[in-house]
Each structure stands twice: as structure tokens, then as C-alpha cells.
Symmetry: C2
Subunit: 249 residues, 2 copies
């Protein structure tokens, strides 16, 4: 039985169930494990020897929170992360996660020009900008951010859904808030870290594909027929066959 | 420079600093990472093939919370944990951690006789009863629990400080609350998982010794001269030379 690609609605429902009174998880716990999964997947894809300098691009929502946790773990894994966080989320948890990174002296950039410059000095980018709640149009400065990521030649590791992609349809032409005739091309990441279960929009993703979030209760996985493959050892991520490999079989 | 064995007072101070406004960690985060460390250390010491059935003995405090998190991760690592929790802690976090385990259908025992019986069917015990805040006398049913653990022949993995040991002095004769002439012998675990930094009382521990808690900020480690050894890869634990190995060198 192959893994299920879930809809935006089901992804939201699973998160809600995990954090309900009966699921009993806190956002702190789930974000810690999700961010750790992302850091592990990056580490298993690009070694610290060859790809030490990691640009961690964070959006204002939970996806950005996962990015902040990942940046902290990457620091402990001996990478040199730099955080780009143009619009810090207002929730208390994001402030705490940011402070934890600042305490490790991880540089935090706010300005998009600084981001573009620093990107030239980076070995790999962790894209934690938009998650499964994203819908167009693109707001500033994320049009410039996505364009810069699309233009870069360094590898891109996207968290859950590549930023700008439709959660349902995958890559899509994007328009910006100030100009609905200007379309922006979305990028194809080299590596994807799906959290809990992959989303419908990444069904045809051709790159290296990891699944993270080794906390989904068996009963919940069964109820939603997620068909999660077996993780091995103490790993927090498991590699999925890519769409390319699957179609070749 | 060898690792520092810290006092009860310093252990408390480090925890307080991590969870202060400036440290910015939540108890949920630290307990998640500490419990994950314990599960990883057990897994690296006793494989799931040879030691599938794990008795996780939990005390009423934070140490028991670490045990509940470890039990959940051990379940995901494909072990078959059973939890013994005679006195559930009253904090909300312990209730949530317990519920998360119940949602995985992990058996939870409350009765000491059931614990003794189940111990006979177990392959390894994770001792998460008392942590660095423990001081005698022993209260019921923990006198019986410690006696049962001392009598068992299966391997014992202790969290942070073997239950009953003095945080400062190590193994000590214990007396019970109801009878201060009756002394109880403490046990010597096979494996120890020190969290954040090893405590003074385990300086002469002869077994296999892991350090967990890969979240201590560099500045804090430097300030307290912890001399934490380097973790490798994405591991959440690092093995320390045991007192036996050190004295042989």
C-alpha cells in the first residue's frame, strides 16, 4: 500500500486532532519534533563537511517556527545557519524560538537585500517560508524572496510544501498583491521534507523526498489510511520513493 | 579537559536558566528532548531485537515526565514499553504526556504487585523514578519498587541519577519513611543517561554512560565550564568514558 497524499483540509484536521484535548500534544512538542526532522533530513541530504553554511528562510507562521527549531538543531549538528525572518510571527512561541537561536549567536536577517547577499555565501537553503495554509497572492517581500530562491544555484530543501506551490495542485504561476498581472515562477526544490504525511500538491515531486514527524499515533494513521512507511532505528525521518523512481518502476 | 560533574544546586540553576525569560525554553521542549535522549540511549545500548519489552518506571516529578516521553519514543522505535506510574504527577504536562502514551495503547500500571509481576516479563528496565531533586526518606511504594529493581537480573538503564542514590555522594543506604532503622540497598545500573551534565554522585559509575540533552547553549556550557564532549552526526546522545575505562587509562 503506497503512502497517502493528503489534502490541505485533512492536514489541518490531523494537526487539530493531535493538539486537541484527546490528542494531548502541545504545539511546543510538535514543532520541536518537526523542526528536528527537518534538520535531520537536511543533514542526511547534505553533509556538514560540504554544505556547512545553511540559509534558513522563515515565514511568519508555523512553517517559520519549524524553521527556527531546525536552525537551532543545525547549529548543534555543527552547521553554520543564518536565519532570514522578514516578518516575525506574533505568537509567543515564535518569540521564544527566535530567542533560543539568538542565544546561540545565530545571525538573524530581516532585510531582503541582506538575504540576497547572504544567499551568495550559503551552501544550501532551507525553505521554511510557506506551509500548507498558504494561498496567493504573494505579499512583499516574499515575491523578491521567491525570485531570489528560484535564481539561486545552491540546493534547496523545502519544508512540507515548496513555498509558493499550491497544496493541492503543486507548482503554479503566482501573482503578487500589488500587481495581479505579474506572475512569478515557482521553484522546484532538490529535497523535500514532508511532515506527518505528504500533501497532494507534491505527488509528482521528482527530487529526494523525506517524511518527518515520527509522532503520529498508530490509530490516527490507521483512521486516515496514511500508510506511513516504517522508520528505522532512532531516525526522525524516513526516505520516500520519489515520483521519478516510482514511475520508473 | 574532562567533563564536569555538577552539583544538585548547579543542576537546578542550569534548568532555571534554560527556562527563564532569557533562556526561553519551555518545559515541554526540554522534556521532549530529554526523553528522546533517554530512548535513544536505551536503543543504542539494548537493541529492539534482543530487548523488546521495556519496563519504564516513572516517579511523580520531572524525571517521571522524561520517562513518559521516552516510553512514547520507544514505542515509535518499535519496542514494547509498559509504564509503571504509581503516583502520577499533578502538573498538567504529566497528564498530557500520559494521555499521549495511552493513545498509543501503552499499558500503564499503578499497582506495585502488578509492577513486580510484569518486571518478570520484561527485557530491560528504564529507571525514571527519582531525579536530582530526590532526598530520603523513601516513601511507599518506592521502597518495594527499589527492592524489586535491586533483585531483578535484567539490565537497568537509569535516567540522570540512579533512583535512591545521593546526587552528591552516589550509592547510599536508604531508610524508609515508616521505619528509619530499616535500610534499603540501592542498585548499580548497567547503563546511565546523564542529562545536560553528569551529577557529582555518579563520578565513580562503572557502567556504560551516555550524555543526553543536546540543547545546552554554548555560552551556558562555557559559563559553567561543563566541558561537554562533541556529539556526532544527528545523535541526541554521546557516550562518555566510564569511570572504569578512565581509571584503566
Amino acid at each position: 500500500m503506497s503512502i497517502r497524499y493528503i489534502s490541505q483540509k485533512l492536514a489541518q484536521q490531523i494537526d487539530e486532532e493531535l493538539m486537541s484535548a484527546s490528542g494531548a500534544f502541545s504545539l511546543d512538542q510538535l514543532m520541536e519534533l518537526a523542526g528536528l526532522s527537518c534538520a535531520q533530513a537536511l543533514s542526511k541530504s547534505y553533509s556538514v563537511e560540504s554544505h556547512k553554511r545553511v540559509m534558513v528562510a522563515c515565514g511568519p507562521g508555523n512553517q517559520g517556527g519549524d524553521g527556527l527549531v531546525a536552525a537551532r538543531h543545525l547549529h548543534h549538528f555543527k552547521y553554520k545557519p543564518t536565519i532570514y525572518l522578514p516578518k516575525p510571527g506574533s505568537k509567543d512561541i515564535y518569540k521564544r524560538l527566535l530567542k533560543q537561536c539568538e542565544n546561540l549567536n545565530i545571525p538573524v536577517l530581516k532585510d531582503v537585500e541582506e538575504f540576497k547577499n547572504e544567499l551568495k555565501e550559503s551552501d544550501v537553503i532551507l525553505d521554511a517560508i510557506f506551509g500548507f495554509s498558504f494561498s496567493p497572492p504573494l505579499r512583499e517581500p516574499f515575491d523578491q524572496v521567491l525570485n531570489a530562491i528560484t535564481s539561486t544555484t545552491i540546493p534547496i530543501v523545502s519544508v512540507d510544501i515548496p513555498s509558493g506551490w499550491s497544496v493541492t495542485e503543486g507548482p503554479q504561476p503566482l501573482y503578487t498583491e500589488k500587481d495581479n498581472t505579474q506572475t512569478i515562477k515557482t521553484f522546484e526544490p532538490d529535497v523535500l521534507v514532508s511532515l506527518t504525511a505528504p500533501k497532494e500538491g507534491v505527488r509528482n515531486f521528482k527530487g529526494r523526498h523525506w517524511l518527518g514527524g515520527r509522532f503520529v499515533p498508530d490509530d490516527l494513521a490507521k483512521k486516515f489510511e496514511l500508510n506511513i512507511p516504517e522508520y528505522t532505528g532512532v531516525d526522525q525521518v524516513v526516505e520516500l520513493p520519489s515520483a521519478k523512481q516510482s514511475s520508473e518502476q
